[in-house]
């Protein structure tokens, strides 16, 4: 299962599947509902749903007769958490870099000041 997250990214690489996911954030839908706006066959939409299902992004209830498609928001949370944590680590690193750059600028101006002082010393 080590390529699970890769499947998530691959599943979301397709614009139709992204659109399906967006619509599922509002409510569960049946396959018929989902297929309606695209002007493609039910079979084509089912294929997209299969990819999303294999990535763990959506599920379909077994018991209900209409078998509505449901978005597994938890999978998104996990990805978002990873990316946000990575971003925060990068930001901490860049804040330290900010400090180093500020010290470099102080250092530069100190050098200038020193030279000026030396230049004007009696």
């Amino acid at each position: 299962m080590s390529d699970q997250l890769s499947r998530v990214f691959a599943a979301l690489a397709d614009p139709t599947r992204r659109d399906i996911v967006v619509r599922l954030t509002e409510a569960d839908h049946t396959v018929n509902d989902l297929a309606a706006p695209y002007g493609v066959s039910l079979q084509a939409v089912s294929k997209h749903l299969k990819v999303l299902q294999e990535a763990g992004l959506v599920s379909r209830s077994r018991d209900a007769q209409r078998r509505p498609v449901h978005l597994e928001a938890e999978v998104f949370d996990l990805m978002t958490k990873w990316i946000e944590r990575h971003r925060r680590q990068a930001e901490e690193r860049f804040s330290r870099l900010d400090d180093v750059l500020a010290r470099m600028q102080d250092g530069d101006s100190d050098d200038t000041k020193l030279q000026t002082q030396e230049g004007t010393a009696p």
Binding site: M1, S2, D3, Q4, L5, S6, F9, A10, L12, A13, Q53, G56, S59, R60, S61, R62, E72, E74, V75, L78, M79, K81, W82, I83, R85, H86, R87, Q89, A90, E91, E92, R93, F94, R96, L97, D98, D99, V100, L101, A102, M104, Q105
Partner: protein
């Protein structure tokens, strides 16, 4: 990616994008400095160790030859635990720094990092980092590294979601 490339966008804080098509991570950040100063902070080992961090680790440069076709190795340590990183520099220029990056704990995973420094005017410079990993798994590993819930716990959780749900 097209939306985040808007020329009006400013990055006072780091912005990150995991590429959907290739196993890569983009990162953007604006600095109050010239491209030349940013390059110096990346290439001068005495400056580099001051910010590469993290704070909880002490970084020591083992080898540093930061010029085109040069190489590097540095070691981050804490309480006797050591994490070594190494790579080569395919290109070091006035506006671009290209390096390979490997954590020696996973020596087979070699990433290619390209950092571009673009002058924005008024003494500001934008850093764009592009880290290309050799697999999506390696990229995800990089994204989740240092997490309390690391990639393995994460996948275990996904496993449970997949097997426990109605999939």
């Amino acid at each position: 990616m097209t939306t985040i490339q808007n020329p009006q966008t400013r990055y006072p804080e780091a912005a990150i994008l995991a590429d959907e098509r290739v196993p890569a991570i983009h990162i953007w950040r604006d600095f109050d400095a010239t491209p030349e100063q940013l390059i110096r902070a990346h290439t001068d080992p005495l400056l580099f160790v001051q910010w590469i961090g993290p704070d909880s680790l002490t970084t020591r440069i083992d080898h540093w030859d930061c010029r085109t076709l040069g190489s590097y190795r540095y070691v981050a340590s804490r309480d006797g635990e050591e994490y070594a990183f190494r790579g080569t520099f395919p290109e070091v220029s006035d506006t671009r720094l290209v390096q390979t990056f490997t954590w020696e704990g996973m020596p087979d995973a070699v990433a290619l990092e390209t950092m571009t420094f673009k002058e924005l005017g008024e003494g500001r410079t934008r850093l764009h980092g592009f880290s290309l990993c050799d697999s999506f798994e390696g990229r995800d590993q990089m994204l989740s590294s240092g997490m309390e819930v690391g990639i393995h716990d994460g996948y275990a959780k996904l496993d449970r979601l997949l097997t426990g749900g109605s999939l």
